[in-house]
Amino acid sequence: MALRTLAAKKTLSLALGGARPLAAAARGVTTVALPDLSYDFGALEPAISGEIMRLHHQKHHATYVANYNKALEQLDAAIAKGDASAVVQLQGAIKFNGGGHVNHSIFWKNLKPISEGGGEPPHGKLGWAIDEDFGSFEALVKKMNAEGAALQGSGWVWLALDKEAKKLLVETTANQDPLVTEGASLVPLLGIDVWEHAYYLQYKNVRPDYLNNIWKVMNWKYAGEVYENVLA
């Protein structure tokens, strides 16, 4: 079962991202590819159901990748032609789909099955920084849950590192805006997708339950690595 899903994942990503660069690279546009998950779709149960993970990765993220590549090609053509209004008009699609790709790529790395260490609180430098900036780990979780639940519509809630001020912050972005739109010096450590497609099939309208449960599969190790790399 796992082998089949792995095979399916690989062929799909090859079809979407792999074949494209050969054609588009001839015109000089570097396109993006759908990244693979390092775990099965069902590995994050019961925090996030396998159905949601499959749809989220294969449909939503794949759509963002495809539309972003298309927008990039159109942008390339518009720049070559010197069509400024077309360039400007494409910015919405690029921000949305490109942001969706960037955000979801981070999101997959933020999650880890419980059996592989998901949910373990952070140790080391990140742990101390959290205690310093938020008081305690529980306070950070409570703050992120509150901001995520209060977010109107669709968006993301982030644990961000301000690399200039060397401080941790909790930020929210709307729709698929990447974290850099909130500040150029912000580096995302953890992101939680609070679009309804990320939890509706399992949690229906109870977003707070989703936010409480996602911490059980949070990959703090990745966040710690990013933190130490940026501040090194």
Binding site: K59, Q152, G153, N175, H197, Y200, L201
Partner: protein
């Protein structure tokens, strides 16, 4: 052996006076902790001046007039002091206490409900198979209900009182700087509007005047349908897509808005709407937004309601020269 003490002497003492006791204008409050004895006569309190009296103070027992209705026998006077005086003072404090807590009725109601949840004009499973009963149940019973309850909770401690829902939306929109009540209020209205924009066995073509107006403003019905679908697909994120009658341009148009915003904010008249928040279609269509939109257009939209709304909108917007028959 002293006669038995009246019951009110054992009740809790009244709250302290609002003016400090040493203040020259403070009335001398008679406390029941220390009932009057005949050996010590109380100093006569000055009549409290109305403007300095606390706002909730009412009729004070007027010592200067020494009213005595003969409610108590004189037998207890020796031991308890002037019972009548104390009784009236105690009664005054009861009013004082009630008024201070805001009256008796507010004591028992915690939340004043201002707006209610309206019901869709069809059964919950009437829109199958294009919108499942489960979706309508959740969408109306949980999401719409939560917006209503959230709005009422916010309004319990908000100065926005006494508006109709549309007025409240306009007020809370605050010309682009929405107040915290805006989201809940707008979503309550939007969802009510949305339920009424649909009907079982809807879709198809409108008739008569509405069709004429659509053909005038969009070229043809097919054009309108394509424009509606493409506008809905162009919306990124959560929002709504509307068939709206624009007041200034005096024509029908298709617009999409983000999150909770509705054309009411721009002063236009909405005619039909489609909810593009993911909770509206995710259970039925997962990520296939296009099918949801085309199904709405082909099978759900209620042209009868659209006709009624257009009829009402025509009283606000002059859509053209009237056809006055010449005799």
């Amino acid at each position: 052996m002293p006669p038995p003490a009246p019951l009110f002497l054992s009740l809790p003492s009244p709250p302290p006076p609002l003016l400090p006791v040493h203040h020259p204008k403070a009335p001398q409050a008679l406390t029941l902790n220390r009932p009057l004895t005949s050996s010590r006569k109380p100093a006569l309190p000055t009549r409290p001046v109305a403007s300095l009296a606390p706002a909730v103070a009412t009729r004070q027992y007027d010592w200067t007039r020494k009213q005595n209705f003969g409610l108590f026998s004189a037998a207890g006077d020796k031991f308890y002091g002037n019972l009548e005086a104390q009784f009236w003072s105690w009664l005054d404090t009861c009013w004082f206490r009630i008024r201070r807590q805001g009256g008796l009725s507010r004591r028992y109601s915690k939340i004043l409900s201002y707006y209610g949840l309206t019901t869709p004009p069809y059964k919950l499973d009437a829109l199958e198979p294009y919108m499942s009963r489960r979706t309508v149940e959740l969408h109306w019973g949980k999401h719409h209900q939560d917006y209503v309850e959230g709005l009422n909770k916010q309004l319990a401690s908000s100065p926005l009182y006494g508006y109709t829902l549309e007025e409240l939306i306009k007020e809370a929109y605050n010309n682009g700087n929405p107040l915290p009540e805006y989201n809940n209020a707008a979503q309550v209205w939007n969802h009510h509007f949305f339920w009424e924009s649909m009907q079982p066995e809807g879709g198809g073509l409108p008739e008569g005047g509405v069709l004429q107006q659509i053909e005038k403003d969009f070229g043809s019905f097919t054009n309108f349908r394509e424009e509606f679908i493409s506008s809905a697909l162009q919306l990124l994120g959560s929002g709504w897509v509307w068939l709206v009658l624009k007041r200034n341009e005096r024509k029908l148009s298709v617009v999409h808005t983000r999150n909770a915003i509705s054309p009411l904010a721009f002063g236009d008249i909405p005619i039909a709407s489609l909810d593009l928040w993911e909770h509206a279609y995710y259970l039925d269509y997962k990520d296939d937004r296009r099918t949801y939109i085309t199904n709405f257009m082909d099978h759900l939209i209620s042209w009868d309601t659209v006709t009624l709304r257009m009829m009402r909108a025509e009283s606000f917007v002059n859509l053209g020269e009237p056809n006055i028959p010449v005799a």
